[in-house]
């Protein structure tokens, strides 16, 4: 990777990141002008901006540059790009914002697209988990990791994949935006446990058998960062999932439940 390559990736990733933030804030301003809807929570805007900045930090700037030679820095970037940024962006409910901002005609078209089988396929918990965790196994246990540093286009495609797979994985497990293809809490929990296990096992696998070209010391610190950092972000996801469960089983007829039992 040379400086011209860095310039290319800076522009390729930096411009969409700035555009995303700009569009989101623009949509919030437009939607807040409509008096009949409640004000868009500022926490969502904050979550979106921080999420995009975290993703950008893994793609451009000092961390991204260091990632090319340092596996630990690479793993810190991976946690930001593939886990924390997707979660923060999902929490910002971008589709809800878009549906609120668009006029009825376009909102209907978008909602039809979201209900379609194409979106349904990729947001199926098992498909999303396989894309996310399977992609990581492919990256770190084959020669793909070394090839990624030699080929700029491979580098770009893999980084886009890591972010998108992380995002699809997140929205397939916790429902923030409207979801038409819904799965039960039990179903999502079981898939989620296997996905999380796949991530943890891969971390220890990298510790034991570092990817080609990665020094053992870097691989070990990077693997532990992946293991415990992954746990930390997953704890947030698990907490949100169970909080939704807790809200969904709220007893509506407390009195009659008690009455029946007496």
């Amino acid at each position: 990777m040379h400086n011209t390559h860095f310039l290319l990736t800076d522009l390729l990733f930096g411009i969409p990141a700035l555009l995303a933030i700009g569009f989101y804030i623009g949509a919030v301003i437009i939607t807040n002008r409509q008096g009949r809807l409640r004000k868009w929570p500022w926490l969502r805007t904050f979550s979106f901006v921080v999420g995009v900045l975290f993703a950008a930090a893994a793609l451009i700037g000092p961390l991204a540059r260091q990632s090319h030679t340092d596996f630990t820095a690479h793993m810190a970037g991976h946690l930001l790009l593939g886990m924390l940024a997707p979660l923060l962006i999902a929490l910002a409910a971008p589709m809800t914002l878009l549906l609120r901002t668009l006029n009825v005609h376009w909102a209907r078209k978008l909602s039809r697209l979201l209900q379609g089988s194409y979106v349904g396929f990729f947001t199926h918990p098992i498909v999303a988990s396989a894309l996310n965790i399977g992609g990581l196994w492919l990256l770190y246990t084959t020669s793909l990791y070394a090839a990624m540093h030699a080929n700029i286009w491979l580098h770009i495609i893999i980084h886009i994949h890591v972010f998108l797979a992380g995002y699809v994985f997140t929205i397939s497990l916790v429902y923030i935006d409207p979801v038409s293809h819904r799965f039960s809490f039990t179903y999502r929990t079981v898939v989620f446990i296997f996905a999380l296990a796949g991530h943890g096992i891969l971390s220890k696998f990298i510790y034991a058998y570092p990817s080609a070209g990665v020094p053992v010391e870097q691989a070990r610190i990077g693997a532990m960062l992946m293991y415990y950092g992954g746990d930390a972000v997953d704890l947030l996801l698990i907490f949100i999932l169970f909080k939704h469960w807790y809200q969904s089983v709220r007893p509506r007829k407390l009195v009659s439940v008690a009455g029946k039992a007496v």
Binding site: I193, A197, A208, D231, D234, F242, P251, K260
Partner: protein, 168 residues
């Protein structure tokens, strides 16, 4: 009057949600022991290794699955406690019985199958390991026995209308 009525509803709710009390305890107990294992023996004492070269492949899978499951069990178990409290149905004796049973069962599995058979890692390195293994597994067995004892006793109280059910 109100107090008596509430007691009646509470014991009724406990009976209705007996299994949920038990499973919430088992899940939280398992998650709690796994969490203690990670903080105490991995992070603070540095006795356990992150990875041991003698680990067999299935050990890596078992460790990964249990580690992932324990996170869900801890958080999920506590959310179920919150749900039981909201329903006035938290039954402490049953819950603690489940907690000790779940925690002890995981510790025994960890101490025998995962440490010895799958060789994920040992409790401590460069020491005579036998006393460590004995303390580990005997304490696990004690937790299981006490846990089952509490569950049996809780069931008997419900059947015979004693303890928390004495007003029902």
């Amino acid at each position: 009057m109100t107090t008596i009525h509430n007691t009646q509803s509470n014991s009724g709710n406990r009976a209705t949600f007996a299994r949920r009390n038990l499973w919430s305890g088992i899940l939280f107990g398992l998650g709690f022991v796994a969490f203690l294992d990670e903080t105490l023996f991995h992070q603070l004492l540095h006795w356990h290794k992150f990875y041991d070269k003698s680990t067999v492949a299935v050990g890596l899978i078992s460790d990964g699955l249990f580690h992932a499951f324990s996170w869900f069990a801890t958080v999920g178990g506590l959310f179920i406690v919150a749900d039981l409290r909201r329903r006035n149905a938290l039954w402490h004796k049953m819950w603690w019985g489940g907690k000790l049973l779940g925690g002890g069962a995981f510790q025994l599995y960890d101490g025998t199958i995962q440490h010895k058979l799958m060789r994920i890692h040992q409790i401590r390195y460069n020491v005579d390991i036998l006393p460590y293994d004995l303390v580990w597994n005997i304490s696990a067995a004690i937790m299981i026995v006490v846990g089952i004892g509490l569950i049996v006793s809780a069931r008997r109280e419900r059947r015979e209308g004693r303890g928390v059910f004495s007003n029902a």
